[in-house]
């Protein structure tokens, strides 16, 4: 950083500093750039510049066969490592018309909900760290280890579980391993009250999060926010509730809003904590239901990989897959053509993409000291979100408006689809 980055603009008697945060800054866990206009410590303007984590994953996927794409999808992000495969498998199964056995659907649900538990706990820890409350960070992450251990015991891996495959799942959760899951669920159930006490009844956390980073109900709807970010503003929006899939259809899933905690939704950071902590409780219930009601039966409707590849190669059509990831709705679109092993089009839209614009009303009017916690409040996952990076021919990245982007996208789609 150098002096050029402080633009002293004196106009109308007000002194306005322009301060860049990122792409590398301790408040940010992943690269993204904010340009803040500050009046003293108060934020009066913000510009967001993503694009630092774009790796061309969709392009890579369109040059690989679908089984390889599945592994690629798992590695779009390290925290959402089940969300992307779950959405992708549903998209491909939708396109190719493949049935998934009920037991496999339940196993997918269990792993998906375990991911929600560990992801929300990870977020809570990061949030505490951004507030300068490292004690809470360390204790939360210690608790989180239990879900990571359980995932390792059930799938063999801590991070990339490699569980879903087109037409089913790769590993069973046998009855003799179910007790491990019950043990972990009891562990979390016992700690839940303590966590709510530590986060929601702590004066110093409340002082830093109440009425900070407010996203109003109307803004959340207008900006198409998803996941806990929208629910904290009182928008009852949850893919598991609105369009049930997998085992969720067998359950009564209700979108969690701060009302479930007995408070009116404000849409601030405190409400985000409420929603995420209550969702951990909800996930415990869901996993327990799945374990108790898991149907017997096969794991894959097409167990042989060569047969599966043959079916996929023959498939023709397009499909979508949606999953309520810990951060909100993740959406995969896939287009398959007969005789071509690779997907012709693969689009990934991660929840952070929707929530990006929610940052603007959240930042406005708050202070420099609130930047880290507001940035963290939508639980941004930049590597999930960065699907595009504009670079002009002369090498200068530029800003494109909506109409221009739509035109370019249509051109590209026509080019790809011939």
């Amino acid at each position: 950083m150098n002096n050029e980055s402080i633009n002293l603009q004196i106009g109308g008697g007000a002194t306005c500093y322009s301060v860049p945060i990122g792409p590398v800054h301790p408040a940010l866990k992943e690269p993204i750039r904010f340009q803040f206009d500050l009046d003293g410590e108060r934020i009066v303007g913000v510009d967001i510049k993503p694009g630092f984590a774009h790796r061309g994953i969709e392009y890579m996927g369109m040059r690989r066969n679908l089984i390889q794409v599945l592994y690629l999808a798992e590695r779009i992000c390290g925290i959402c490592s089940i969300s992307h495969p779950l959405a992708l498998t549903q998209a491909v199964e939708n396109a190719a018309g493949i049935e998934v056995p009920p037991r496999a659907q339940y196993i997918r649900t269990i792993i998906g909900e375990l991911e929600r538990i560990h992801s929300h706990l990870l977020w809570a820890g990061v949030g505490a760290h951004e507030l300068g409350f490292d004690t809470l960070l360390h204790l939360t992450w210690k608790i989180r280890e239990k879900s990571m251990d359980l995932l390792e015991q059930l799938t063999g891996n801590r991070v990339d579980y490699a569980i879903p495959i087109f037409s089913g799942v790769r590993r069973d959760i046998p009855d003799e391993k179910a007790h491990l899951a019950y043990e972990a669920l009891d562990y979390y159930r016992g700690l839940l009250d303590k966590m709510i006490d530590a986060y929601l009844h702590d004066k110093s956390v409340e002082m830093r999060t109440r009425n900070v980073g407010v996203l109003s109900h109307d803004d959340a709807v207008a900006l198409c926010a998803v996941g806990p970010t929208a629910r904290a503003s009182g928008v009852k929006k949850d893919v598991r509730q609105d369009m049930p899939y997998l085992a969720y259809a067998d359950m009564e899933i209700k979108a969690i809003t701060p009302e479930d905690f007995g408070t009116e939704p404000v849409g601030d950071v405190y409400d985000n904590i409420i929603v995420r902590l209550l969702e951990v409780a909800q996930s415990i219930e869901i996993i327990e239901y799945c374990l108790e009601n898991m149907p017997k039966g096969e794991l894959m409707s097409i167990p042989k990989i060569p047969a599966l590849l043959a079916v996929l190669k023959k498939a023709e059509g397009e499909g979508i897959g949606r999953h309520e990831a810990p951060r909100g709705e993740v959406f995969h679109y896939i287009r398959l053509e007969e005789g071509i092993e690779e997907p012709v089009v693969w689009k990934v839209k991660a929840p952070t993409y929707n929530n990006l614009m929610a940052w603007v009303p959240k930042f406005m009017g708050d202070e420099v000291a609130d930047i880290p916690i507001i940035a963290a409040s939508i639980d941004p996952c930049i590597c999930c979100m960065d699907r595009v990076h504009l670079v002009d021919r002369d090498g200068e990245p530029s800003v494109k408006l909506k109409e221009e982007l739509v035109r370019l996208s249509r051109e590209k789609t026509r080019r790809i689809c011939g």
Binding site: M1, N2, N3, S5, I6, Y17, V19, H25, P26, A27, E41, A128, H129, E130, L131, G132, F133, D134, T135, L136, L137, H138, L139, K142, D202, S204, V205, M207, R208, E367, V368, A369, D370, I371, P372
Partner: protein, 331 residues
């Protein structure tokens, strides 16, 4: 004459190195205990020594936009001011070396110097993060200096009626005549309020959570210290360690100057040894109560919240303490 001078110099050297060493040891305890309370293993107790040695041999970077001489001078100013404080504070039950040459008011000023030096250094660094940190430090000093001054002055003022004709602003006089026994019940309540105010000021004076706003790692990347490295950073680190001992010793001298030697009827070498050991325990207890547990148990506050906290409740507490001490004299 020259013999006393030589002995004074030796004492000075011992105090200087002993005080710094103690500060580092307490820093080690601070880190280890905080880690244990957070469910971590934590570094070994001698980690602060490793840190300083490593900083000393690392490159001392001066940013292009910094005002070089000011930027390099400030760590020295901070360390010198902190070290000078050691000569005016009773350590281990002994009277301060330069006790006759400076009193509470001087201590008050010297305490502000390391913070001021960090502030000037931050402004001189030419980085936006350091500038924001320096502004925050400035606001925070304005917030906590007033209750600190009120506390110290009220104690001396009350003592002036109990010890007529004595230099009541001298710390050794105050330490020799603790007020607890000399005032009535109202006065005791007042003293408790002043004590609490001083305890709350301590982490702010030392820039520890919840008052580490000028450094705020997650917000402004270390703020004041963002650009400092190598030898300069090591000097700020040492100044911080010394200041921790000084603040704890100040609280002990004002409120708990008692020794154990008299209780056990020990005199001479063994008595001094016992008193020094007891003093070390007292410093630890104060640091544990005012710094370690506080920094483990709270989130970082915002600058407006800190200002409100110090100007309203803490200043209020110290003023009520002063009032109660005054009432106690009348009643």
């Amino acid at each position: 004459m020259s013999a006393t001078l030589v002995s004074s110099i030796w004492q000075g050297v011992i105090i200087l190195f002993g005080g710094t060493f103690l500060g580092m040891v307490y820093k080690g305890f601070d880190r280890k205990l905080a880690a244990q309370m957070q469910g971590r293993i934590g570094p070994p107790l001698r980690q602060p020594f490793y840190d300083v040695i490593k900083l000393m041999i690392k490159e001392n970077v001066v940013p292009d936009h910094a005002i070089g001489w000011l930027y390099n001078l400030m760590p020295i100013a901070a360390l010198v001011a902190a070290a000078t404080l050691l000569f005016y504070i009773p350590l281990g039950g002994f009277a301060p070396l330069l006790g006759g040459y400076g009193d509470l008011i001087l201590i008050l000023y010297l305490l502000a110097v390391p913070s001021l030096a960090m502030m000037v250094g931050g402004f001189a660094a030419g980085s936006p993060y350091a500038t924001v940190g320096a502004q925050r430090e400035m606001v925070m000093m304005m917030a906590y200096e007033f209750p600190l001054a009120v506390t110290l002055v009220s104690l001396a003022w009350r003592a002036s009626y109990l010890l007529p004709g004595q230099p009541v602003f001298s710390l050794s006089v105050l330490a020799a005549h603790p007020l607890w026994g000399a005032v009535g019940p109202l006065g005791v309540i007042g003293l408790v309020l002043l004590f609490v105010a001083l305890l709350i000021v301590t982490p702010a004076e030392l820039t520890k959570i919840p008052f580490d706003i000028p450094e705020a790692e997650t917000e402004i990347a270390g703020g004041l210290l963002a650009e400092y490295s190598g030898r300069n950073l090591a000097m700020f680190y040492l100044a911080d360690a010394v200041k921790m001992v000084v603040m704890a010793s100040l609280i002990i001298a004002l409120f708990f100057p008692y020794g154990l030697a008299a209780v056990f009827g020990l005199t001479g070498g063994w008595g001094s040894l016992l008193d020094v050991a007891f003093y070390l325990v007292k410093v630890f207890v104060v640091i544990f109560a005012a710094v370690i547990t506080v920094r483990v148990g709270f989130a970082r506050l915002k600058i407006d919240q800190v200002t409100r906290l110090f100007w309203l409740p803490v200043t209020g507490a110290s003023l009520v303490g002063l009032l109660l001490l005054a009432l106690d004299r009348i009643v």
